[in-house]
């Protein structure tokens, strides 16, 4: 459209401005802060939040840190959103401790803060937590691996996240617990190391680093027959290393995440089983809670498990799992 006179332009601008103001006065503003903008997991989370906000007539602001671990970037985003009138903040904390002072400040201004995906430390610093039970995610693949091994003695490699991260510890310890080995409980942030685990290495959840870690583990103990990985990119790296060593048929890989690429790898047999989590659900539940808070002033509280499903190409007796068709329907990322 081409506007001919300055007068028309001014009128047009005024019209838009008025409409914008009217909408802003009615719609509750909800802020979503993810760890990064680019990780498909968070992209999906944003999609879920945007869809829920549209359906409920809320206005969604979104922001993120520059990279995983960028606490300052998340704090800045939170301040900007509160300045823009957000009464609910949904956040996936990059740094579970460092974010807490900023959350406290927000709460003092009457803002409800809900953690998505990862808890703060301590977890009760936020009003509520909507997240996967990562320990249970580990337990499920541990149980699956135990049943699939059929009593064969296990020589396990664990490709973990990085030292000191609660999610890394919960999945690792849950896996060992599910496999029936000596392990720690869900609240312990240390990695259990029973004798059956012959190699532990950090993959940083990264494909190339996972491959390097797996190669080094095979050097340490060539008889490894079961590999646990923190996520599916690390699993893909591990598979690559095993294939190059000619061991991909003899070694089972189990993982956590349920991204579409990961489910594809389950379907093609690279990964035996994965525990799928649901970022979209975390986000839409968060938006619903935010809209409710704006309407009635009622806050949500406590921990809500957003669910985890075991996805496996081959079901094993005694362990409930869904096939990859179901996994593909529910996966996040590009199908």
């Amino acid at each position: 459209m081409k506007l001919k006179t300055p007068l028309a332009l001014t009128a047009f601008a005024a019209l838009i401005g008025a409409a914008g103001l009217a909408a802003a006065a009615d719609a509750p503003v909800i802020g979503l802060i993810t760890k990064t903008e680019t990780n498909p997991f968070f992209v999906k989370m944003k999609e879920g939040a945007a869809a829920a906000a549209k359906a409920k007539g809320a206005k969604l602001l979104s922001g993120a840190g520059k990279a995983d671990g960028d606490n300052a970037g998340q704090v800045t985003a939170m301040e900007n959103m509160i300045a823009a009138g957000a009464k609910t903040i949904l956040i996936t904390p990059s740094d579970s401790k460092a974010i807490i002072p900023a959350i406290k400040k927000a709460q003092e201004k009457g803002v409800m803060v809900i953690a998505l995906d990862s808890p703060t430390d301590p977890a009760d610093a936020t009003d509520a937590l909507f997240a996967t039970d990562n320990y249970k995610a580990g337990v499920l693949i541990g149980q699956y691996a135990k049943a699939a091994m059929g009593g064969k003695p296990a020589k396990i490699a664990t490709l973990d996240l990085f030292p000191g991260h609660p999610v890394g510890a919960q999945r690792h310890n849950g896996f060992l617990q599910g496999f029936g080995l000596q392990s720690f409980e869900a609240k312990n942030n240390e990695l259990a190391a029973p004798a059956e685990v012959v190699c532990m290495a950090d993959s940083f959840g990264d494909r190339a680093k996972g491959q390097t870690a797996m190669e080094n583990c095979l050097q340490k103990n060539p008889e490894i027959n079961l590999v646990y990985t923190i996520n599916e990119p690390a699993a893909a790296g591990a598979f690559n290393a095993l294939q190059k060593a000619g061991k991909d048929k003899a070694v089972m890989i189990v993982s956590v995440d349920g991204g579409c690429d990961g489910v594809k790898d389950v379907a093609s047999g690279k990964i035996a089983a994965t525990s799928q989590q649901y970022p979209l659900k975390m986000a839409s539940m968060g938006v619903d809670a935010g809209v409710e808070y704006a309407k009635s002033g009622k806050k949500v509280s406590g921990y809500t498990d957003t669910g985890v499903t075991l996805i496996a190409a081959k079901a094993v007796a005694g362990v409930a799992s869904k096939d990859t068709k179901v996994g593909t329907e529910l996966c996040w990322g590009k199908k």
Binding site: P40, F162, D202, D206, A208, K220
Partner: protein
């Protein structure tokens, strides 16, 4: 004024080698699986990407510059070559050339900003780090490219050599190092690189076109990042938009550990290969010992400080 001949202090060359020998001795004594041809060839495979990036980085550091964007440019190159092949259906050799072309263009952009606009390399490449990262994420939509033609992963294949599986990419890396070592030592163009780093003003006064040398170095570095892109695809079997994030600093670490002076003009390129291998040996050896990766980071940090200290002391001693 220093002459070109006293650019190579012996201590600066021996430092990285001594560190490597000590690390190997310790790992050899504590784990029985460390000393084997197979394990060493594995370590070389693991460092081939950062090793080839470090060639480009060495050239730039020799001119008293620095490149903080190298890993990101490498990641962009690998996304371009895999996506051009997978999405546009380009034949693999052409797609590879396009990928290397893009990384060379980024090198050219860095070089032009440094030589023509006279911006400090640190700032230019810091900006380019962000630009290359963002373009990589946007173009790939943060998705890994999995549909890679076999020709692109050929360098990741191995052949048997006396009980060890050696990757073709390892051989390429070593050939590139030997070629550049010869080029820097024995050709006029190579010696101009040292001269520009040593004393740009004197170099200009004797009639060497310093700007053209600098520009050439940045473009050449970009070409090496492109070759590293191909090696990264070959090693992981995919185009990975999240690759390269640690390679920026890892490459600088390798160059510094290798004894090349951050002040420019001094260093031997083979040292960078040793520097890269030192980091790989630490990671491998500590995993074999069952020690957390944090200690690898700690030891690497200490070695970097030591290497720079040795460089600084030898500069003072030389005057």
């Amino acid at each position: 004024m220093t002459t070109l001949k006293d650019r190579l202090p012996p201590i600066g060359q021996l430092g990285p080698f001594i560190a490597l020998v000590i690390a190997c001795a310790i790992f050899g004594l504590t784990t029985d699986r460390f000393f084997s041809a197979g394990n060493f060839s594995l370590i070389l495979q693991q460092v081939m990407v950062v090793g080839v990036i470090a060639i480009g980085q060495t050239l730039i550091i020799l001119t008293a510059g620095i490149d903080l964007s190298c890993g990101m440019i490498m990641a962009l190159g690998s996304i371009v070559m895999t996506k051009f092949a997978a999405d546009l259906g380009l034949p693999a050799p052409l797609a590879i050339l396009c990928g290397i072309g893009v990384t060379a263009l980024f090198g050219l952009a860095n070089g032009l900003l440094v030589t023509r606009v006279k911006l400090p390399p640190f700032i230019v490449t810091l900006g380019m780090f962000n630009i290359a990262f963002a373009i990589t994420q946007l173009y790939s939509e943060a998705q890994t490219v999995t549909d890679v033609p076999p020709m692109m992963t050929w360098l990741g294949n191995t052949f048997r050599l006396g009980g060890a599986s050696v990757a073709y990419g390892t051989v390429l890396m070593i050939l590139l190092y030997l070629g550049m070592w010869f080029w820097l030592r024995e050709t006029a163009a190579g010696r101009h690189v040292y001269a520009v780093g040593n004393n740009p003003e004197a170099t200009r006064l004797v009639g060497i076109p310093t700007e053209r040398v600098l520009l050439g170095v940045y473009v050449l570095a970009g070409v090496f990042y492109g070759i590293a892109s191909l090696l990264s695809v070959a090693r992981t079997g995919v185009g990975d938009p999240n690759a390269g994030q640690t390679e920026n600093l890892d490459a600088i670490t390798a160059v510094v550990l290798g004894g090349t002076s951050l002040f420019g003009g001094r260093g031997v390129i083979l040292g960078s290969l040793i520097g890269a291998v030192v980091v790989g040996v630490l990671r491998n050896g500590l995993t074999l010992m069952g020690v957390s990766s944090v200690y690898q980071v700690l030891i690497t940090g200490i070695l970097v400080i030591l290497a720079v200290t040795v460089d600084q002391l030898s500069r003072k001693g030389g005057r």
